[in-house]
């Protein structure tokens, strides 16, 4: 579910590794993400976290099959997974002492957007796509996602994303304050360069 690497002193890479589901955040992934953040938070030797997606997409958001009506998971497990999700996206990510750099390519949708809001730097590939597609399925975007997007953008952008369900490209995400830099090449490479520069300070 997660690919965790510590390739050099001070740096930790966290990769969403569920490529067959476009890195949708399911039960196991959200539990693993909370766990690694909890463990990393008190590691003084880790200065920078780089978060990315394996397989061409950052994350397509929450896994609807796991968390919504058709879920076959037990109520107890779902309750635990929901609590973990609220923990990392409402509190834990915001308290991390490390610099957080997100490298985005492909889809970055719905439940993945609070990760961008908690990042100090967001590097996005020029072909990346951002959005809140919940309304297209007759759902309402989670309030935590709405709040996070509202903290990154203005109310016009928030209304457009939430009500239309349309996706925007990286340049628009840059204009709307969701992205720091748009790159032509692999965003992970750029993120690693930035991370190494930060660690050497």
């Amino acid at each position: 579910m997660l690919l965790i690497e510590d390739p050099s002193p001070g740096l930790r890479l966290i990769g969403f590794d569920r490529a067959q589901k476009r890195n949708a955040i399911g039960v196991e992934l959200t539990l693993a993400f909370e766990k690694v953040l909890l463990e990393t938070r008190y590691r003084d030797d880790i200065k920078v976290l780089v978060i990315y997606g394996v397989g061409g997409h950052f994350s397509s958001g929450m896994d609807m099959k796991d968390f919504f009506d058709s879920s076959t998971r037990s109520p107890e497990l779902l309750k635990t997974a929901r609590a973990a999700t609220e923990h990392w996206r409402c509190h834990l990510l915001r308290k991390m002492p490390q610099t957080i750099i997100s490298a985005v390519e492909g889809y970055c949708l719905g439940g993945a957007l609070p990760i961008l809001q908690c990042s100090d730097v967001v590097v996005a590939h020029e072909q990346a796509r951002f959005g809140m597609p919940e309304i297209n399925f007759g759902f309402v975007p989670g309030a935590q996602i709405v709040k996070a997007v509202g903290l990154m953008t203005n109310s016009r952008a928030l209304s457009y994303l939430a009500l239309t369900g349309r996706l925007i490209d990286s340049q628009r995400a840059l204009q709307w304050g969701m992205v720091t830099e748009v790159v032509h090449d692999a965003p992970l490479q750029k993120a690693l360069e930035l991370a190494k520069g930060r660690i050497s300070l």
Binding site: H91, N136, G138, P141, G142, A143, A157, Y160, A162
Partner: protein, 280 residues
């Protein structure tokens, strides 16, 4: 269909013209007889219409546009004499009502509201745009903020409660009266007044495409999404979690065709089947 909407539909010379087609309500403001300037009657008619629309489930989306070439060419001076310093009760009552309509009623409508802006947009129009969910504007549109008009339209400027105050900066009244700023569409986008800009020749098509897409979405989910967008940004993180839980449960229940527990209980009480504190 509620009365004000029906009346407007059969009155093509009205200052507020309305067309409803397959859930898409188009509202056209202004009339050639007034040189397309906005009047007290226009503002009152608009407020009446918005109140009626909020109860009308036939309306799935609103598009607000001008019947002239300019979205808002300005105010009719005979209706809004600058020398009155706005103490005329008739003027003040309508302006306060219009302000409430723009800042509150439009935002709380269950339907999405799209504004289509072209040509000039004076401050009365800017105030209306603040209550719209999505603003599509022509690339050559111009937004004009003139100090005296701004103070005329904003009854409690000193309370610093207006979204539009960002257009004038945090300035005292004495300074604001001297303001005469014109913003182009790209600056209006940067300020968060406009969502997207388009070439003038494709603006209508873009608005129509978006409006039709809203008609195809789940109306209840759209209403709840609007409420979420309106209320959540000012909540704490923990409150937003509770809000989500409540909204998801209500949405699931109502999409399944069930009424709320409260509504069922009230209906039961009114039918004489339940007594307070005694249950069924």
């Amino acid at each position: 269909m509620s009365e004000p909407v029906a009346r407007a539909n059969v009155e093509p010379k009205s200052l507020v013209q309305v067309k409803l087609d397959k859930g898409l309500m188009t509202i056209r403001l202004g009339h050639v007889n007034n040189g397309y300037l906005w009047t007290l009657e226009l503002m009152d008619n608009f407020c009446d219409l918005i109140q009626a629309v909020s109860q009308n489930s036939d309306v799935r989306v609103l598009v607000i546009e001008s019947s002239g070439v300019d979205f808002c060419k300005g105010l009719l001076t005979s209706d809004f004499p600058r020398t009155s310093t706005n103490r005329d009760p008739n003027v003040r009552t309508t302006l306060d009502r219009f302000e409430q309509c723009c800042h509150r009623d439009l935002a709380l409508l269950p339907q999405p509201v799209i504004a289509k802006v072209q040509g000039l947009c004076h401050f009365a129009g800017v105030q209306l745009l603040e209550g719209c969910d999505i603003v599509f504007a022509a690339e050559d549109a111009q937004f004009i903020v003139q100090g005296q008009e701004l103070l005329l339209m904003s009854s409690d400027w000193e309370q610093k409660s207006h979204k539009s105050q960002r257009l004038a900066g945090d300035q005292p009244k004495t300074y604001v009266t001297r303001i005469e700023n014109t913003y182009d569409t790209s600056e209006a986008q940067r300020l968060g007044l406009v969502t997207f800009s388009f070439l003038p020749e494709v603006l209508s098509q873009e608005v129509e495409t978006l409006a039709i897409s809203f008609c195809e979405k789940d109306a209840l989910a759209l209403q709840f999404t609007k409420e979420t967008v309106a209320h959540v940004p000012s909540m704490t993180w923990d409150a937003s979690v509770n809000f989500t839980a409540a909204k998801f449960a209500e949405l699931k229940s109502r999409q399944a065709g069930e009424t709320s527990t409260r509504a069922t209980a009230v209906a039961s009480f009114l039918a004489g089947k339940t007594k307070p504190g005694k249950g069924a």
